[in-house]
C-alpha cells in the first residue's frame, strides 16, 4: 500500500514538474476567428425576457427581466491535446440576454481542430484586483459598468446577474414582486472571502469539434440553461430566497448554475 502511495506521489510530482517546465507546445500557425455562442434557454424553452413564463422545481412561476454574466479566460485544446490560451487582455466578455451581439464571443486562435473548450464563469481574482487602468471595456468599473456588474462598496465584479418577477417574491420597496440574484465573490483581497469563480470545461467531441481555419468562422454553440440555477443540487425557492447577493447562500446558487452549460453543436 505504501509503495502505491509513493508511486502516486511521484507521479503527481512528475506531472506537476512537467507542467511547470515542459509546457506542451502551443498550436502554431496562422490565427483565425473562433466564435463561441451562448444561447440562453430555460429548461426546454428558448428564453424570452419579460414575456416568457416559467415554473421552477419549487413550483413557483416567474419571468426573467435581466440576465447577464461574465465569460473570461478562454482556452481551447486540440484533438491532439495541445492547448491554446487566448491572451488574457482579449478574453473578457459580458453576455447579455438583451443584446444579441453580446452572445457571440469572438476570439483569435491558431488554425486547428479543437475538442475541448474551457472558460471561467466570472472574473479571475488577479484581474479583479488589477490596477484600474488595466480593466478596460466590459471590465471598467469607472466608465463601462452601466450594466451594473460591479459592487463598489465591496470592490468586485458581479459574475452572474439574473432578475425577474414572481408572485412568490415579496413586494419590494418599488412595489414589484421582484427576485434578484447577483452572484460574485473572487476570494477577497485584504481578507479571504467567498469565491464563486467557476471554471467550466466542455468536451466538444460528441457535439462536434471546432475546425478553425482561415477564411471561415467556426461557431461553438453552447446552450445556457438558467433553470439550473433553481433546479440543481440545491432546490432554490424564490419565496425563501428572493434576493441573493453577497452572502453564503450565493455559493449554493453558483454551485447550481455551474452545470447550466451544454454543448449543442458546432457550425464549421
Amino acid at each position: 500500500m505504501k509503495r502505491i502511495l509513493t508511486l502516486i506521489g511521484i507521479a503527481t510530482f512528475i506531472m506537476a514538474c512537467s507542467k511547470e517546465s515542459n509546457p506542451a507546445p502551443a498550436p502554431t500557425g496562422e490565427k483565425a476567428t473562433l466564435s463561441i455562442q451562448f444561447d440562453n434557454i430555460i429548461g426546454s424553452k428558448n428564453l424570452q425576457l419579460n414575456t416568457g413564463n416559467y415554473t421552477n422545481a419549487a413550483g413557483e412561476q416567474f419571468s426573467i427581466s435581466k440576465l447577464q454574466y461574465y465569460i473570461s479566460n478562454i482556452r481551447v485544446k486540440t484533438t491532439a491535446g495541445v492547448e491554446f490560451v487566448v491572451p488574457q487582455d482579449s478574453s473578457y466578455f459580458l453576455v447579455n440576454e438583451a443584446e444579441p451581439a453580446s452572445q457571440f464571443l469572438k476570439v483569435r486562435v491558431p488554425e486547428g481542430d479543437y475538442a475541448t473548450l474551457t472558460f471561467v464563469l466570472g472574473v479571475d481574482s488577479l484581474r479583479s484586483t488589477m490596477d484600474i487602468s488595466k480593466r478596460t471595456g466590459a471590465l471598467d468599473p469607472s466608465s463601462g459598468m452601466d450594466a451594473g456588474m460591479y459592487w463598489g462598496w465591496n470592490s468586485g465584479y458581479i459574475f452572474f446577474k439574473m432578475e425577474g418577477l414572481s408572485a412568490a417574491a415579496p413586494v419590494d420597496p418599488s412595489g414589484q414582486n421582484k427576485f434578484r440574484y447577483h452572484i460574485g465573490g473572487f476570494g477577497g483581497y485584504s481578507a479571504p472571502t467567498l469565491n464563486n469563480i467557476k471554471t467550466i470545461v466542455i468536451d466538444l467531441t460528441a457535439g462536434g469539434i471546432a475546425r478553425v481555419r482561415k477564411g471561415r468562422e467556426a461557431n461553438i454553440h453552447i446552450m445556457t440553461d438558467v433553470m439550473k440555477l433553481f433546479n440543481g443540487g440545491t432546490m432554490v425557492s424564490i419565496a425563501a430566497h428572493p434576493t441573493v447577493m453577497f452572502s453564503d447562500y450565493s455559493v449554493l446558487i453558483a454551485n447550481n448554475y455551474t452545470s447550466m452549460f451544454t454543448h449543442d453543436h458546432t457550425e464549421n
Partner: protein, 345 residues
Amino acid sequence: MKHRPILVGALLVVVIYGCSKADDVMSFMGFRKPANFGAPVYKLENNDITQAGFELGRKLFYEPRLSRNNTISCGDCHIQTSAFTHHGHDVSHGIDDRLGSRNSPPIMNMAWSQTFMWDGGVFDLDLQPIVPITNPVEMDETMANVLEKLRAHPQYPALFKKAFGTSEITGPRMMKAMSQFMVMLVSANSRYDSVVRQQGPAFTPDEQAGYVIFKSKCSNCHQEPLFTDNSFRNNGIGVGYNDDQGRYTTTLNPADKYCFKVPSLRNLAYTAPYMHDGRLLTLDAVLDHYTHEMQDMPTLDPLLKQNSTLGIAVTTTERGLLLSFLNTLNDKHFITDKRFSEQAQ
C-alpha cells in the same frame, strides 16, 4: 548679423521657459513622505503625481457634477476645516437630503491606508470614488453620466489633456486624478509630529505624561505614526440603531461581526462626532465609553476585556493628561492648507 534678433528672441524664450519650469518645481513639490512615516501603501508607480493631475483631482473633488442633479460634491461631506469629515453630522445627508448610515471619515494620509470605508470593502484608493458617486443616498449618479458631463464641460477636456497628454476623458483617468489629490492630503504637521521629528518645542510635562499613558493603554490599536493599525475591531460600543455589522458584511466571517476599522486619532479636535455612526459627540463621551460604558459581545476585541474586566482603566488624573496628549495630534496646517481648498473658478 541680420539673424541676431531672432537668436536673441530664441534665447529669451529658452530663458523664460526655463524660469517658468523652475517656478513650477518650486510651487509643486509632489508627494513627500514625512520623515516619521513608513513607506506608503498606495502604488505611486501606477500613478505619477503631477501638478496638473493633482489640480484636476482637486477640481473633481469639489465638482458637484459628480452627483445626479449636480448638487453634491465630495467636498460637501468631506470638509477641509473638519479634516475632510462632515462636522456636526452623525451620518451625512447626500442627494435630496437622503441620509447615509455611517459617519463620514476623514480623508487624510490615504497613501498609507490598505483598505477604505469603515468596513474595508474597498481595497484600492483608485476604486473608492465610485462608491459615493453611485450610492443612491450619496450622489446617486452613474459613472457614464459623470463622464458625459465632464466631456461636455468647457474646462475639463483641456485639464485632462494637461494631466494625461490628450483630452480624452475616461473613468480610469478620472479615478487616477482624484487619487492624486487624495494621496497629497498628508497630515503630518501636528505638534506631535514636530516633537517626534525634533523640529519644535518638546511636549509639556502634562503632554509627555499623557503620551506615556497613551502608549500603555491606547497604542495597541492606535499605532503611531498614523494612530491606527488599519485593523478591524469591535470596540464594544454595542449594536447601533441600524444593526450595522461592519466588516462582516464584506467578509462574511462571523469573527468580523460588528468590527469596524480603527480610526486614526489625528485631528480629533476637528472630526467630531465619533465612531462609525457618529453616536458619540465629544471626546469625553469617547473616554467614558472606553473606561466604563463598554458592552460585552462575542466579538469584542480581547484587548478590551483583559482579566475578565471590561474597558480600559483610566483615573481622572490620567484622563486629563491623556486629553492633553491627544490635543497635540491636531494639525492646523492641514486644515488650512490652501492647496487642498476649493479654488476659484
